[in-house]
Subunit: 267 residues, 2 copies
DNA sequence: ACCCGAGCTTGAACGTGTTCAGAAACAGGG
DNA sequence: CCCTGTTTCTGAACACGTTCAAGCTCGGGT
């Protein structure tokens, strides 16, 4: 993050493909091919050996390129994870949407969404713990709160917006709260992820049980918030969240507008 | 964590000092002196240059020993942080206790305890972020949930027990909840720490404001839990916490026993 | 045909955390 | 005093992530 004034023409680690000025690229996606090859190889090795035991040299050798070449396409080893991150988020969104189709009960929808995540992430559990610490670094672009992971986060938040809006609970809530909830539910997922990462029981059974037990509570809590008695408290909580929680997560959806120009980074 | 069958006689990184079998050591604490020298030097450099920019070679040179010697006393660079961790927890406990003496209002006591932490940690904010990712590794002994950091955690939990028991709120709560609350409040601190680590505002002003705004809410929530209407919900929440949250934190205090067969997995 | 230059690729070299075979200091016992 | 075993200490060596100056490739301008 210090010396990016000399990078000649490295295709910024995102997947920005088509440049706005029409075609200036030669012709084939040869470059993209190499990039994909490296990413694919890396993810395979990560899964086979774990993150720490997969060296950049091994990735390069296995992919049939040089170490330097890997660094031409990926700023660092961490950035190779971003691919995995995006991919899994997308798979999760699809799987969850399919699974909760038809279900109207909010509690059930929420549970399905979380369990779907656990299923999608299951095969990565072992090496997830290893790169979790990387994601915990506030300076890393891999932090779930960072701007760089905005696209993946936005996708996930959108999923939870769907969880709510497709449920029979949605019409009963006041608009303001409904606007906040998707991101709060995403935070709930983050808590589950935290739990999951530390979970060492076989098949992460404990986390699964945790989800089964915690979602009804969340559902009931939200459901209760409608009643007049809680008005003052809900109001306080809402403003706390709006002022102190959401801003630190980075803009995901345009609650109003005035959003700064969302970086044109398609996933 | 793989090959600790060959360590000859390295004084285990903990602070185990006096061996139970009377004196078997030569005479002076020469060894301890070296250990302390290395630790002291490391912490000074960490504070001066930050964690990442402080190399083991620099620590060794500055302390006037060899690199290998540092590794004789500390299993890894991470372990040098444990000292800081313990020290700060202790300082916090003292400072907070002193500051809230005389205050009976629960909200105020809680706020004081948290603000005291922010003050104690202030000078380390810069490099705290750097080693935060280390603490996030579930396999690391530096994780706040690990068994190795049990002593520091127990001290902190004890502080929050005092926050509650010294307040006018304590007598009004049912015993079971009162038993759970100290660890929950500690979790609250962990959330504040998470917020703090990501906070980039000058003097972490944002976190301070977050504390001022969130503690009244927590206090009110706890206070409300007494009323009959919430009985079922509080009961559910309590059992969820007891079964799924506290066991993953590691035993700090023997709440009772009879805890469900928590898998005997000492990490 | 020539070469220009940007995109792409290389591998040696740097600085890092960590390890290891042994040297040095030290404490008794003969 | 020398031998022996333990504790303490040493610094070269290792494997890793990362950088960099230089080379290669190839389409297009002249």
């Amino acid at each position: 993050m210090e010396d990016n004034g000399t990078t000649t023409g490295a295709p910024a680690a995102g997947t920005a493909e088509e440049l706005p000025g029409g075609r200036a690229r030669p012709k084939t996606g040869k470059s993209e091919q190499t990039r994909a090859l490296i990413l694919e190889t890396a993810m395979r090795l990560f899964q086979e050996r774990g993150y720490d035991k997969t060296t950049m040299r091994a990735i390069a050798q296995e992919a049939g390129v040089s170490v330097g070449n890997a660094y031409y396409y990926f700023e660092s080893k961490e950035f190779l994870i971003q691919g995995f991150y995006d991919r899994m988020t997308y798979a999760h969104a699809l799987d969850a949407a399919a699974r909760m189709a038809g279900e109207r009960d909010f509690d059930a929808r929420l549970r399905i969404a979380l369990e779907s995540w656990l299923d999608c992430a299951a095969e990565y559990h072992e090496f997830a713990a290893q790169f979790f610490r990387t994601a915990a670094d506030p300076d890393s672009s891999l932090s779930p709160f960072s701007n760089e992971s905005h696209p993946a986060r936005a996708t996930a938040v959108e999923l939870f917006r769907d969880v709510l809006s497709g449920s029979d609970l949605a019409p009963k809530l006041d608009a303001e709260l409904a606007e906040l909830l998707p991101e709060l539910l995403w935070l709930h997922l983050m808590v589950v992820v935290l739990y999951w990462v530390f979970d060492r029981t076989p098949d992460t059974a404990r986390t699964r049980e945790f989800v089964r037990r915690s979602t009804p509570l969340v559902a009931k809590l939200i459901s209760l918030s409608r009643y007049r008695v809680f008005r003052p408290m809900v109001r306080d909580a809402k403003s706390l969240i709006q002022d102190f929680i959401l801003p630190t997560i980075g803009r995901t959806t345009a609650t109003r507008s005035a959003t700064p120009p969302a970086p044109p980074r398609p996933t």
